[in-house]
């Protein structure tokens, strides 16, 4: 354990001797966010809204309703995305969508059986026009369906059988105020990837200089050597996260519900990304191949993972894939932490990922490099 600390101090000292690099790393996300804001406008609202649909019924009635929404004139301004109730609540609370429509279990049966049923629409309170449009469109569709099946004649004076109940959810944190603030979590992880890539490439410098082989001749455990590198990386990534968020708060009016937790998340999940890149680097047969391999993997991951374009701006399919990439998942969790709806399980998942990649790295480096 003692050597782990010695190894970490060594890497941190080396990092401190390159202040320009550190400043550049911290500045990357802010720089990108500001540039994109200048391109798209300072407080540009999103061109389209998002209606999340939690279809708990799964029957014909629900499918028809979703299809009708997608075919309506509303679809030019609002895209529809199917989610489960929990994910929908989380995203609506974090302000990442205009509204959430919950289609309850038994909707189709009730609809076809002429029984009363209630649809629930949860509105994003920070938006006005798009949730209004969604609510009105849904009202029209429900009325249309009500009369279309020919039962309206008998019950036109009575209470409609399908009711739309509208709620306005209390957001735990307000929506980011501008495009740059919305993009910042993604660009923060873009910076994390830059830093992780640079730190992971250090293993090749150490191999070339003979330092790795020399370590192998000492009684020091190789795992401790790598653990020291991991600790140094975690601290560096935490620093990048802290200053990135702080600058985001000051310059871009980014809402941060829990700064320490957000920094901790960037540090832990960033460490996992660092080890992932190091694994790629270590598995390569030469430094050039390692760099090519890293770029080949990182470039699409940063594109998909919300590094350049927020998920809400992406086509649905791409956004769905992007949220499952390691960095995309980290961005989603960071957004949740920033909005105050952190998932504790995410920390456990990230810690497991770090442990698994650390073990893999130790084995691969010992086998391939020493």
């Amino acid at each position: 354990m003692r050597f782990l600390w010695i190894s970490a101090v060594k890497d941190l000292r080396r990092l401190r001797r390159e202040p320009v690099t550190l400043i550049t790393w911290i500045a990357i996300p802010i720089f990108l966010a500001v540039i994109l804001t200048l391109v798209f406008g300072p407080h540009n609202s999103r061109p389209t809204g998002k209606l999340l649909v939690a279809d708990e019924d799964g029957g014909l009635g629900a499918t028809t309703l979703v299809h009708a929404l997608e075919q309506s004139p509303l679809s030019r301004m609002v895209s529809v995305e199917k989610v489960d109730r929990k994910e929908g609540r989380r995203r609506i609370e974090s302000g990442a969508a205009s509204a959430l429509l919950i289609v309850p279990t038994g909707f189709t049966g009730a609809f076809l059986g002429n029984a009363p049923v209630e649809l629930q629409l949860i509105r994003n309170p920070s938006q006005r026009i798009l949730p209004d449009l969604i609510e009105e469109t849904l009202g029209v569709l429900i009325d249309g369906a009500f009369y279309a099946i020919g039962r309206g004649a008998q019950q036109s004076q009575a209470q409609p059988l399908i009711q739309l109940k509208t709620n306005v959810v209390k957001q735990q944190s307000e929506q980011p105020s501008g495009f740059a603030a919305m993009l910042l979590p993604g660009t923060l992880f873009l910076a994390v990837f830059f830093v992780a890539g640079a730190l992971a490439a250090d293993v090749w410098r150490e191999r070339t200089s003979g330092a790795l082989r020399r370590i192998a001749t000492t009684p020091a455990a190789f795992g401790a050597f790598l653990g020291g590198k991991l600790l140094a990386a975690a601290l560096a990534l935490g620093a990048v996260g802290f200053f990135g968020l702080l600058l985001g708060r000051l310059l871009l009016d980014l809402r941060i519900a829990n700064l320490p937790l957000a920094v901790l998340w960037i540090s832990i999940s960033g460490s996992g990304l660092f080890l992932m890149v190091m694994l790629l680097q270590s598995a390569a047969s030469s430094e050039r191949v390692a760099n090519m391999l890293t770029n080949l993997v990182l470039l699409p991951l940063t594109m998909l993972g919300g590094g350049f374009v927020p998920f809400d701006w992406m086509p649905q399919g791409m956004a769905r894939i992007g949220r499952f990439t390691p960095n995309g998942w980290s961005v989603v969790q960071l957004q949740a932490i920033l909005s105050g709806s952190a998932a504790p399980l995410a920390f456990g998942g990230a810690a497991l990922f770090v442990a698994a990649t650390w073990i893999a790295c130790t084995r691969v480096i010992r086998r391939n490099i020493c």
């Binding site: 003692r2 050597f3 010695i6 190894s7 060594k10 000292r13 080396r14 001797r17 390159e18 070339t208 200089s209 003979g210 330092a211 082989r213 020399r214 370590i215 001749t217 000492t218 009684p219 020091a220 050597f225």
Partner: protein
């Protein structure tokens, strides 16, 4: 060492110091920080570590430059620090892989003296080098390795005896290999080690007196353009054993 390197690897490695051919150091750290790191890797801590660092910095003549990042050091200074990093924990066995490659003559002399000091202090030193004169002056026992195999070993005296006090004569020019070989076979005290169309290597007793007869014999089947006469040495032994000049 009293430790089995397989069953008790950690303890064995604690007794070993390695000075690799590469400058296995961190350029952006100072000399003292590098030594602290490598000493720490060997298990040294606190006052003991600080004492050892001070001692080896003094030994390699870098005490006054201890706080500078080593990227500002000359090649010779880095080599000395590389050496210091291998001995900071006072190893019982010191493995040196060409520690003088690419250094200036003063640093080379200093490094060789440092190696002798380690041996005098009781360390067992295994020294790998392509500079055979270094091996001649430093080592008690020598082994010549070619293509990964030991082809000769012993003390310097024992190895010289293998040459039977014969000189090594290297001729360069244009030769008809087979004809030269058969011509020289008739000369007393001349042994052909290697022959091709551009070079002839001969092991000759009392070469300076036999040169005229060798030139006369070769005259009809080749043209000599260069001659090198070498006294018995490790290098001539190496050439005799391998039939080739020393290579990387």
């Amino acid at each position: 060492m009293d430790h089995d390197v397989v069953r008790d690897g950690v303890a064995a490695r604690r007794s070993i110091g390695v000075v690799p051919q590469e400058i296995a150091l961190y350029e952006d750290l100072s000399a003292r920080e590098n030594l602290a790191y490598w000493g720490g890797a060997q298990g040294l801590r606190g006052a003991e570590l600080r004492g050892h660092i001070q001692e080896v910095l003094d030994l390699v003549g870098l005490l006054d430059r201890a706080k500078e990042p080593i990227k500002q050091f000359s090649g010779g200074m880095k080599r000395r620090l590389n050496f210091a990093s291998g001995i900071v924990h006072h190893p019982k066995v010191l493995l040196l892989d060409e520690p003088t490659v690419g250094v200036d003559p003063q640093s080379r002399v200093r490094l060789l003296e440092l190696v002798r000091e380690q041996a005098r202090a009781g360390a067992c030193v295994l020294y790998t080098t392509h500079y055979l004169e270094e091996a001649e002056t430093l080592c008690d026992r020598l082994a010549i390795i070619d293509h990964g195999s030991i082809i000769a070993q012993g003390t310097l005296t024992e190895l010289r005896a293998m040459l039977a006090e014969r000189d090594l004569l290297l001729l360069t020019g244009i030769f008809q290999a087979e004809a030269v070989k058969s011509t020289l076979a008739g000369l007393d005290g001349v042994e052909v080690i290697h022959i091709d169309e551009s070079q002839v290597s001969l092991s000759v007793s009392d070469a300076s007196h036999r040169l005229p007869s060798i030139f006369a014999a070769i005259h009809s089947c080749g043209e000599v353009r260069g001659t090198t006469l070498k006294q018995p040495s490790l290098e001539s032994l190496f050439i005799k054993l391998t039939g080739k000049e020393l290579r990387e």
